[in-house]
Amino acid sequence: MDRVISCAEAVDRLWEFLDHGLDHHDHRAVEKHLAFCVRCCGELEFARQLRCLLGTQTAALPADVEVRLAQFIERLTDSAATEGTA
């Protein structure tokens, strides 16, 4: 039989729930809690949005940094190839 958990317990595990990081029994307990608790469903949606915000990344590489790093890669591989053939 599934364990009944409080709102505090459910909220504390929402990120792990979204990450599929809970064991089967805990996952099921959170799932059952969410089935009847509207407030915790709001918290679940908020946790989902927070995860998206945290993961926001456009990976923009400033042009000047890109040029310098590209030059660095070129020097690095030239040097490594020279050593490799020596």
């Binding site: 995860r51 890109e66 490799g84």
Partner: protein
């Protein structure tokens, strides 16, 4: 050190992954990002011959970059103090928003709050977190590393990583709230600035 063919392959891989590496380095090390990428590329070049699965080269580079960052962190002085997370354990951003109600006329209070944060704001908020909590958050939620791999990469027990993730999430919520308050962006009911944009 590298055969000409390997050197060309490494150069191609490094160029393709440069933006992603820099983004991760920026999240982990802030202003030292470029330097961190260079050191990671240097280390990666030395061991490129050992990379068996070239398709996994992107993740391989990210793991090396994280290792370099971790090694650097160990060399520098310890962080100022073990940050007390007791006071954030009970903090809930969701409930705080309900209680403080910064947007009284909003039908979507929580989404409006999060929608005010630009990528630079999130970067700044993450930068406020101690490195030991920031790194697992970045690796898990930005890079998508499984927790076991984070543990291997950071050379920490899995339980420690899970604990740091839990505390890191709490600290992130708290830091988001503090950042919004400090920016003067949260507007109370009846304020003349009520309709003003609140961040940025």
């Amino acid at each position: 050190m590298l055969q000409a063919r390997d050197a060309a392959a490494f150069q191609q891989l490094a160029r393709e992954e440069l933006a992603g590496m820099y983004a991760l380095a920026r999240r982990l090390a802030g202003q030292d990002a470029e330097d961190l990428v260079q050191e990671a590329l240097l280390r990666a070049c030395r061991s490129f011959a050992s990379l068996r699965d070239r398709q996994a080269g992107g993740q391989w580079l990210r793991v090396i970059l994280t290792n370099v960052w971790r090694d650097r962190l160990r060399k520098v002085a310890r962080e100022p103090a073990e940050v007390s997370v007791d006071d954030v354990e009970c903090f809930s951003l969701y409930r705080t928003l309900v209680e403080e109600d910064p947007f009284p006329y909003s039908d979507s209070l929580h989404l409006d709050f999060l929608g005010g944060f630009s990528e630079d704001d999130v970067h700044a908020v993450l930068g406020r977190l101690p490195a030991r909590y920031r790194a697992p958050l970045v690796l898990r939620y930005v890079e998508g590393f499984p927790t076991k791999q984070i543990a291997r990469t950071l050379a920490l027990p899995l339980g420690t990583v899970l604990s740091q993730l839990h505390r890191g999430r709490k600290l992130f919520e708290r830091a988001l709230w503090d950042y919004a308050v400090e920016s003067g962006a949260l507007v109370g009911p009846g304020s003349p600035q009520e309709d003003a944009p609140w961040i940025g």
